[in-house]
Every structure is written in C-alpha cells, then in structure tokens.
C-alpha cells in the first residue's frame, strides 16, 4: 500500500463497561406487542437499529433482536416482558454477561476492522449493526459512525479478538 502511508494511522481500542443486553425472540404476530413493551417499534430487516432513549434494538435475524439498555433498566424490561408472555409468547434471554464489547475509533478504524472482517464494510453504513465474523469469532459489529465501530464478542473469544486488534494497531503505527 505504498501510496497509503499518508493515512494517519491513528486508532483507539477501548473496553466498554457492560450494559444490560437481551436476546429477544418473537414471531411475527408478537412483534408489535414486543416492541411496544420496549417503548419502540422493533426494526425489521437484518442490520437495522432502532433507538429509544438509551435503549437500542438491532434486528439480527427474521425473529431475533438484540436489545441493549442501561443496567438500571434491566429488571423493568424483564418484568415488562414477563407480563406479556401469556398473550405474546416469546423468548427474552438475558445475555449481559455473554459478550464483552470493544470500541474502535479513529481515522484508521475502518482499516483495522479489515484485518479480521471479511465483509465489505463500506456497505455497513453508520447506524447499523450485524452479526458477522471477526477472525473466526462470531461478533456483533456495530458501526456507530464513519470511523467508529463496536464489537460485541463472546467473553472467551474476546482476548483473541483484542490481541489481533492490538497487533493491527501496532502494524498501522509502524506505517506498513
């Protein structure tokens, strides 16, 4: 990449504090009710994100959503869904501890992601998120802005992913 050296190889990798996370599974019939329970309309179409206050919901599959919320809202969400279960069968599983999250920001963030992610990241426009693969590990990849990504990684895979991110950052710093 001989003509790319002028790219400022600056990138920051941060560990984020955990928030409340749920895997929400519900059929088409219950989708509206489930959304209402969260105070929003569940996004349809994989990779779409809907936010409501500090809550964010991303559609990961045709009947699967990842719900993130501040830790303080955890119990309220659990209780709210419990009350609708009989009329609206669903599965709400808390997974707050399943994944760890890294935030990758900076002008070289995009390039850093390409060391592990086989997707065409230019098609993941800011504001969207997908489940994908990073160096063999399943991850939820959020693109928060042009040069800001988040990776949710299963806890035991996280050090492996972090190690590669650090290697890549050092490589960028070396200018090659």
């Amino acid at each position: 990449m001989t003509n790319q050296k002028h790219d400022f190889p600056w990138v920051t990798i941060e560990d984020l504090a955990p928030d409340a996370r749920f895997s929400l599974r519900v059929g088409e019939a219950g989708r509206d009710r489930a959304g209402l329970t969260l105070g929003l309309s569940l996004p349809t179409g994989v990779s779409n994100v809907v936010r409501h206050g500090e809550r964010a919901v991303v559609c990961l599959g045709p009947d699967e959503w990842l719900v993130t919320a501040p830790e303080g809202e955890r119990d309220a969400i659990v209780e709210a869904f419990a009350t609708i279960y009989d009329q609206t069968p669903h599965s709400l599983v808390e997974i707050s501890d399943r994944e760890l999250t890294y935030r990758i920001t900076g002008p070289a963030a995009f390039t850093l992601m390409t060391i592990g992610c086989p997707r065409d990241l230019s098609r993941l426009t800011p504001g969207r998120a997908v489940r994908t693969v990073f160096d063999g590990a399943t991850v939820i990849l959020w693109r928060d802005a042009e040069d800001a990504f988040r990776l949710d990684v299963w806890r035991s895979f996280a050090p492996h992913v972090r190690d590669l991110l650090d290697t890549g950052r050092a490589e960028l710093a070396a200018g090659l």
Binding site: T2, Q4, R25, S96, T111, I115, C117, R155
Partner: protein, 997 residues
C-alpha cells in the same frame, strides 16, 4: 569496479550505493538494483547450479520467472530463506547471498559429475532401476537420491518476522501495471470507478521501464508513465507495488501477496514482512503481459545465454550491459530492439541470427545501419564455454538442411523464441483457453469469472495495441460497473511492434541424440527427454510433464511449458491443443508459508477459550488440558505432587469433605416457548412432559443414526423454559443440530433457542460438606433436603449474585452446580473457597472429575462412547422414553445391526489385585495366547486409580458385555497379559446412599 554499468542508463539510484555479499565476496550495487543486476554489473553471470546435472547457470530472465539464478538470502538469525530469485530480490544493505546446490563451491562442484553421466539420467530413469536388491531402496538408493535433490538449504531457526493479512473490497482490480494495466486503470478511474492497481515489481510501468525510447501521446515513455501514475494518484486509485496476485479464486476473489520489508535496510518494529490481501473485486482486469520464451538448442543453458528481453531490461532499467560481445538468436522481431539498444549502449553485436528467412525490412535496415551482421534463415546449433559462454555455433538452414556451421565468438548469447501470453490467473478461474494457430499460442477463451484480459495477455504486441486494448478493458469494466465511458486510441510514436514464429527445438547439424537442448532449465529437462517420454507412451502433456518433470520447477513452467508442448506435439504428431496444456496452479510465484499463516501463529494460531475462573486456577498452579477450544484446569498439584498424587488427594478430599470444580465450559442452551416441552421430547431420548418445574433430569441426545452424540443435565425452570446443558465439546454442535431440526423440520413449533454458555459461570460443589459450604451464601431458597432434593433447580441468590442453582451430582456425592452471571464467577469462586475453608475445601480439575464420575459408572461422551454406541450399549436404556412415538435417532435403534447380538456394551473391568492400571485403549481378548491377528472383544475406555475403592478400576466396551458379568477376560499390554473380571459399572455406592442427605 562495476565495469558493465552503463552511464546514463537505467532507473537505479546512482546516488546511493548498497553493499552486499555473494558467497562471501562483497559487492556494491545501487538502490533499485536486484541481486542479479548488481552481479551482472560486475560481470558475474554464474549464479547457480541446476537441479539434476549441477550445470553452471546464470540468469536467463530479469523477473520472477527466473529458473536458474536462485540463491539463499539472509539478514541474520532466523531470517534466511532458500531459493530466492536473484532477478527479483532488491538489494538492501547487509544482504547476504549464497549460491545453492553446489559443493564445495559454485565454480567447482563435485555434483557436476552427474552431467558427465547424463545419458544414464534420462527422463524417468529412476522408474526403471534401483529395484534390486530390494532392501537397497530404503538404505542406499533413496538416501542418495534425496541428498542429491532439493535446491537450497532449509531454514533452521525460528522466524522473528511477522506476517499480516487484510480483506479488501474494490470495484475494479487491475492485475499488472504495465502499459495495458495502467491504461485500463486510468480509463476506469476517469469514468468514476473505484480502482485498485497492483504490480509485482518495485515500480510500476512493466515493459515501459525497459523501453524508454518510445513516445506515447507525445511524451517520452518514462515521462508519460510518471504523468499517468500521478493522475492515478489524483483519482484516488489504490496503487500497490511489490505485490503479486498469487491466485484467482471463486467469484472474483484474488489473493495478493505484498512484500513489505524484504527490500528495506532495516525492519521497523511491529512491521509485518509480508501481507496477504484477500481482495474481492466486482470486476477484474488481468494485464499480466507476456513471458519471453527461450529457444531450444544444444548448450542453450550456459551462463551468458539469456533472453533478449531480459538483456534489454538489464540495460534500460538497471543500466547494466550483460556483455561486451553479443550474438542474438531470435524467431521474433522483439529481439532486434534489444540488439539495437545494446548496440547503442556499446555492446558489440556480433550477429543477429534470425531463424526466419525474411526479416522485416525496417529491422534489417536498422541492423545494417548499425553494422550488425544479420543472418536470416539461420540457426544456432551449439555453444561453448564452461562457466560462461565463449562462442556460438551458427549455421544456415535451407530446405530442411543445416549447413555451413561456424563458430562466432561472444560473451553473451541473447535468445528470443517469441512470447507466451501470461494467463496464469485466468487459468486459475477454470477459464478455457483456445489455441491461436497464427500466433501459435494459447489465448483466453471462455471466462468463468467477471474478468477482462488486456494487452499482451491477449496476444497483442506493440505499445499502441496494448495501451489501446488496456484502455478498452478499463472502459468495459467501468461500463459493467455502471459508469459511462468511451474507448480511445492511445497513440504511440517509435512503437516497437513485432511478430514471430514458434519453434520446437532448433534444427541442428549435430547428432540430435547428443544435443543438450534444455527446455526446463532448472530441472534439466531436454528436448530429447520429452521425445523419449512420448516414445514411451506418454501422449498427454500431463504425462509428459510428470514423466520428465518439465514445468515442475520453481518457475512452474513459465519458461518451459510451451516449448515442451511444441516438442511433445511434434513427437506425438498432433496439434498442440490436442496434446493439451498443463493447468497453471496457484500461486503465481512461490509464496511464503508465513504469508498464508498470517496472524495465526504462536498463541494466536487459534483462539484459546478461558473461563472467568481460569486466572485463579493459573495463579494457584493448576495444570491445564485443552478440551476443544477451551483450556481447562486439569489438576491442582501441590508442591512435590505429580498428577496421580494430586488427583488421589483431590478425589479423597471431595469424597470426604468437599471439592470445588469450575464447570463453566459446559454448554448451556435456553429453550423457551409454548412448544418447549414438545421440542425437548422430539430432540432427546427422554420424556420431558412430566418433569416438574424446579426439577432436573439427565438428558441423552442421539444422532439420527441412533448413536450417542451428547448428554447433560436439563432443568425445567418454568412450564415453557428449560435450561439445557451439553458437554463442553458438544455445545456448538448441539445448538446447531437443534436449530437445524427446529428451523427446517419443525418450523411450526413455537420455541426459541439461545446459547447462554458464556452468560453463566458454573461452579460445581461436591462432597458431604457441600451444603454446609453453600447454604450460608444462599438467599431465597430453602436448602434442606426436603425442600431442595437431588435433581432440583431454583433461581435464587448466591453470595449476593443472581443465580441458577442446581442440586445435581456427577460424583455420587451431595452436589450443587451454581450458575451466576459470568462477571461474578470469580467472586463466587472466592466466596465459596472462603466459606469452605473450614472444611478444607479442595479445588479439583477435570481429571478428578473424570475419576469421580467413573467410580459411579457415569459415561463421558467421546471417551466411553465413540460414535458407534447406542443408549442400550451404554447402559442408558433407562433414559430412553419407551412410550414416545418418535425422537431423533429412534428409528435407527431398530436397524438390524443395532438390535443384533454381539454389540459392544459398556461394563466394568477389575483386575485381580487392583494394583494394575489397565491402559485406556488397551484391547480385550478371551484368549491371550491366540496367534495374531487376535480376535478382540473390545477395549478399555476409562481406567483410573480410585482412592475411595483403594484400587484401580476400569470401564470397557465389550462384545456382548452385558451377558458376560463375572466372566474373566484378558487385557494384553506391553508388560504382559492381565486377567480381569467383567463387572457392572456401579463401582462406588451402588445404592446411591450418599445422595440421600
């Protein structure tokens, strides 16, 4: 010193000298030189020895296709590599170069004896001999053959360098930055396409770098080149140099290897040596140009004999003339330009030998103007000189007769047998080639991928033609990508167009059987080897290649394939396409293992999964064992303890008081929904309908073939909610299998599956004191035996953390498994250790877990089962719901062989005195004195020392074992035959009294 450097020529940086050594001698070159150009500048042609005959060789080419000038290169310990192409490796300060395949030295090589005996070493000679006496093959012949083979010496030390990789998505990838590639990239980029342009050389320009005198669009070639490259940069084209497209894979995925540091004097910290780019392009333009073919004649391999185009490159690109007195032999017009350039630079051209009768008039005039002797309708029949060519024998060819042979003195012989379109990457796509009779070359035909071929790769010649074709390919690609673009002709003055003819080996006035006319230089394959192969029945080019090894050298046939084909097709008597073209295979040029391995070396080779409690285990001296991707604490040795001692202590502590075990790696799946119980009924062998809320049950999972796949304890937390556990290794497999059935066979079921393996940290507490340790920490659950009996599950708080608490036992002792959110796993562990201190709580690892479960006869799937074991075989019929209409694997259990007598069944095995440890995997026989092959009844699956029983015990799978209880069998081991009695597998506390607390 460098007598062959021509002033005013070349693109090397004369302002920067670079010192390096070759076979211990120090030389000076310039920045931008290759090893070969720098050595040639000192008049050194001899750079290597050939593979079979150890013939002295010099560079024949000026690029990566070089078969002869292969050297070992090094930059210090761990950074040595064999078989580096001297013609491609750029000089760097301190580069150490050594020649290969010679002893004691390059000029005098004992292996050269092979050359004297060449008549013995004909094609495939080794298939015909070395067979007697039979034992000599292993001990004598093969070791000699092996020692003689191989080129460079292998690396011996660990490589300190790093290797990297990236993915890249681009609209258009242009492979090759010669004139056609540059024109294509520019045309597409101007139309608005996003373009990546790459080239294997240190700088872009391709053949233009060797042809400074043509004028393109009014500008001298190099000026035009600089302008175009600047515009490419302005248009944002990603330009990559020192980057080789190694392979063309499915759907326009192209692998690129970028060399990042081999040309640098010093390697920056953290810089990778090479990077693999996995490029996915919407469109690809292949502009790989063409490769010059050697001519095949006796002695065409002596140092000083090289391709005319290579000589032109050494002169124009590196400012090096390859000799003082040259003879040119050619069948193509292009060599004339090499001759003219060399003549103009001061090399005396002794003759141009044109194999064609009528040279192009303008070329003849130009030759005449320079006073060059032009011998049309001539051939070369031999050369002389040992370490450097001294003279060339030229002769007239008329009416098929070779006459008037005479020697012409020279110090270099420049040959050109025409040009082969470089279609390697196209060939990787399984694109088809068609033979062009006029060009006598293979050209691209059907393409299986979205790619365009441009320039010399399509058989075009001359700059105007290739530039314009490149432009057209770029336009076509841009249009295909949805841009608007118009083709335009790129005008060239002083163009160097040309045509030529293709030959088999050149005619000779000598004895053809004695001619050493090389086709594959490195592998020493001669024309007569190829004819011999055909005579022996090798009629397909693949057979010829494999029989003679033609095209199997490190240049992968770039120099030799077409010449070999021409000769073979002549010998077979068929047209070349009917004899075939061997497939080009990736990589385009040899590529380091490191580049492919990329980041996946050392600790990063593969993920190592660790539990939240792993760090505690590590700091407390645990030994670990790998289990699938996890590492698990195996045992916790105290000072002076070996594994047996540690395990015996851990077992005893658990049985006598309390043990603590990290079970976090167990797979966990949340099964939830109105149809959860129906789903469980269909997946598992067991019945689930009547399992009460708050109760747990052992679950057994079969494959559809009826054999055991997985097992685990499953708790029912609510009417519609099951907490399923799986084996550590089976977690992903089981969830995949469940999803498969749910999504594709039973989509009507209202149930959802979520992996919670990593949500929970799981700690098992076992032993008579387990409740005493746990109870003080529990809130929200009555822990009494009545309120919380064996096989219960509850949601409560433990040590202040929300928990899912199971009362289950894999040890036969009072046991609990506490699941807490993973972030609290370590804190819970420490809380339990603290609470258990007064009971001498003992952390134990997987080995103790295995012993304790075996004492109870509990199976480990994968150890006591092996993919051929049914529930009945494993004493688990009780876990199969007899009244269920169906479950996965049920139908297979009724297949004839699964109900036939004589199945291998799980039993206990006890040796007489209990002092012998039967080896796991040891086989079981009824009669240890029978001759081999013995009739084996089964094998030992698990074998341990039991502290509780005070003896060794084992489990085994034995034919008809369930009927054989009490019978004696034998276990032959290396130390002798051991008698053992077949027992049940309930070794310890068979009545389960210890759970009733």
């Amino acid at each position: 010193m460098s007598t062959y450097r021509v002033s005013g020529k070349g693109r090397v940086n004369r302002g920067e000298t670079v010192r390096f050594t070759f076979d211990g001698t120090s030389y000076e070159g310039y920045r931008g030189d290759t090893i070969a150009s720098a050595l040639l500048a000192h008049g050194v042609h001899l750079m290597g020895r050939s593979f079979k005959y150890h013939r002295p060789r010099g560079p024949v080419a000026a690029g990566t296709e070089e078969p002869n000038a292969l050297v070992g290169t090094s930059r210090g310990k761990g950074r040595f590599e064999p078989n580096t192409r001297a013609t491609a490796q750029e000089l760097r300060r301190g580069l150490t170069v050594e020649s290969q395949n010679k002893w004691p030295n390059l000029k005098f090589d004992v292996g050269g004896i092979n050359d004297r005996m060449y008549m013995l070493f004909s094609a495939g000679f080794y298939y015909k001999t070395f067979m007697w006496p039979r034992s000599f093959w292993d001990r004598v012949y093969e070791p000699i053959i092996r020692a003689a083979a191989g080129l460079g010496r292998p690396p011996e030390d660990l490589d300190p360098d790093r290797y990297a990789s990236r993915y890249l998505h681009t609209d258009l990838l242009v492979v090759g930055a010669g004139p056609a590639g540059i024109a294509a990239a520019l045309a597409a980029a101007r139309a608005g396409a996003e373009v990546t342009l790459m080239d294997e050389h240190a700088e872009m320009g391709g053949s233009l770098l060797s042809d400074p005198d043509v004028t393109i669009e009014g500008a001298p070639a190099w000026e035009w080149l600089a302008t175009q490259l600047a515009e490419l940069d302005r248009l944002g084209v990603r330009r990559m140099t020192r980057t080789t497209a190694i392979g063309y894979y499915h759907q326009n995925m192209v692998g690129l290897c970028e060399k990042l540091t081999d040309h640098l004097d010093d390697v920056p910290a953290d810089a990778p040596r090479e990077r693999m780019w996995r490029v996915r392009a919407n469109r690809v333009v292949l502009a790989q140009g063409a490769l010059e073919k050697p001519l095949v004649f006796d002695g065409n391999d002596r140092p000083g004999v090289m391709l005319a185009g290579a000589a032109q490159t050494y002169l124009n690109r590196y400012g090096v003339k390859v000799g003082d007195r040259a003879v040119i032999v050619t069948s193509h017009d292009s060599a004339y330009y090499a001759a003219f350039d060399l003549a103009d630079a001061g090399t005396r051209i002794a003759a141009i030998v044109d194999t064609r009768d009528t040279p192009r008039d303008d070329l003849a005039q130009e030759a005449k103007r320079r006073g060059i002797d032009l011998l049309a309708g001539h051939t070369v029949t031999g050369t002389s000189g040992r370490l450097r060519v001294k003279s060339v024998r030229v002769a007239r060819v008329s009416g098929g007769k070779v006459t008037d042979g005479r020697a012409v003195a020279c110090d270099c012989l420049l040959m050109c047998g025409g040009w082969t379109p470089s279609l390697h990457l196209f060939s990787h796509t399984k694109g088809t080639l068609k033979f062009d009779d006029a060009l006598q070359a293979f050209l691209p035909d059907y393409s299986a991928e979205d790619c365009h071929i441009a320039g010399a790769g399509r058989g075009l010649w001359g700059y105007e033609a290739t530039l314009s074709d490149g432009n057209a390919a770029g336009v076509a690609a841009a249009v295909a990508l949805g841009h608007e673009a118009q083709e335009s002709r790129i005008e060239v003055q002083g163009d160097r167009p040309g045509t030529g003819v293709t030959h088999k080996e050149l005619p000779t006035d000598g004895q053809p059987g004695r001619a050493r006319a090389f086709v594959d230089f490195q592998n020493d394959v001669t024309a007569k080897d190829i004819r011999l192969a055909v005579r022996e029945g090798m009629r397909s080019i693949e057979h010829v290649k494999r029989y003679t090894t033609n095209g199997m050298a490190t240049d992968q046939g770039k120099m030799s394939n077409i010449n070999g084909l021409m000769i073979a097709s002549d010998a077979v008597g068929k047209a070349p396409p009917q004899v075939g073209l061997t497939t080009f295979r990736p990589p385009y040029t040899p590529t380091t293992f490191g580049t492919f391995a990329g980041y996946h070396r050392g600790g990063h080779f593969e993920v190592t999964r660790k539990t939240p409690i792993d760090a505690w285990a590590e700091s407390h001296g645990a030994a670990f064992e790998p289990v699938s991707l996890w590492r698990r604490a195996w045992y916790f040795p105290k000072a002076g303890e070996d594994m047996d001692a540690a395990v015996a202590r851990e077992c005893a502590a658990t049985r006598n008081s309390v043990g603590i075990f990290d079970a976090s790696t167990l797979g966990k799946i949340e099964v939830q929904g109105p149809d959860a119980v129906e789903f469980m009924n269909r997946m598992y062998t067991n019945p689930w309908t009547k399992l009460g809320i708050g109760r747990a049950r052992y679950g057994l999972l079969l494959g559809e073939d009826g054999f055991i796949r997985d097992d685990g304890v499953i708790g029912r937390l609510a009417q519609d909610l099951f907490h399923v556990t799986t084996t550590t290794g089976g977690a992903a497999r089981v969830l995949t299998m469940m999803e498969d059935y749910l999504q594709t066979e039973w989509p009507d079921l209202d149930v959802w599956l979520t992996s919670t393996t990593e949500q929970w940290a799981t700690i098992a507490l076992n032993g008579p004191n387990a409740r005493r340790v746990l109870e003080p920490l529990v809130e929200g659950q009555d822990m009494s035996a009545e309120a919380f009996p064996h096989m219960s599950v509850a949601e409560c708080r433990v040590a202040g953390f929300p928990a899912r608490l199971f009362r289950i036992s894999f040890t036969g002792e009072l046991g609990f498994e506490i699941n807490v959110p993973a972030r609290h796993g370590l804190a819970l562990w420490e809380a339990l250790m603290k609470s258990g201190a007064q009971y001498d709580i003992c952390p134990y690892g997987t080995e103790t877990m295995h012993v304790l479960r075996a004492e109870k006869g509990f199976i480990i799937v994968g150890q006591d089962t092996d993919g051929t074991v049914t529930p009945g075989d494993a004493n688990l019929s009780w876990a199969v719901g007899k009244k269920k209409p169906d479950f996965v694997g049920m139908r297979s259990l009724a297949r004839p062989d699964l109900v036939a007598p004589g199945r291998k069944q799980l039993v206990g095995l006890m040796t007489g005195d209990g002092k012998v440890k039967l080896e796991e995997g040891a086989q079981i026989v009824a009669d240890p004195n029978q001759p081999k092959p013995m009739k084996m009844l089964g094998h030992v699956t698990s074998s341990y020392y039991s502290a509780a029983l005070g003896r060794h015990f084992a489990m085994a799978l034995i034919e008809g074992g369930h009927e054989m209880e009490g019978r004696e069998v034998y276990v032959p081991m290396p130390d002798g035959n051991h008698a053992a009695k077949i027992t049940t597998t309930a070794f310890y506390d068979p009545e389960g009294e210890r759970l009733k607390v």
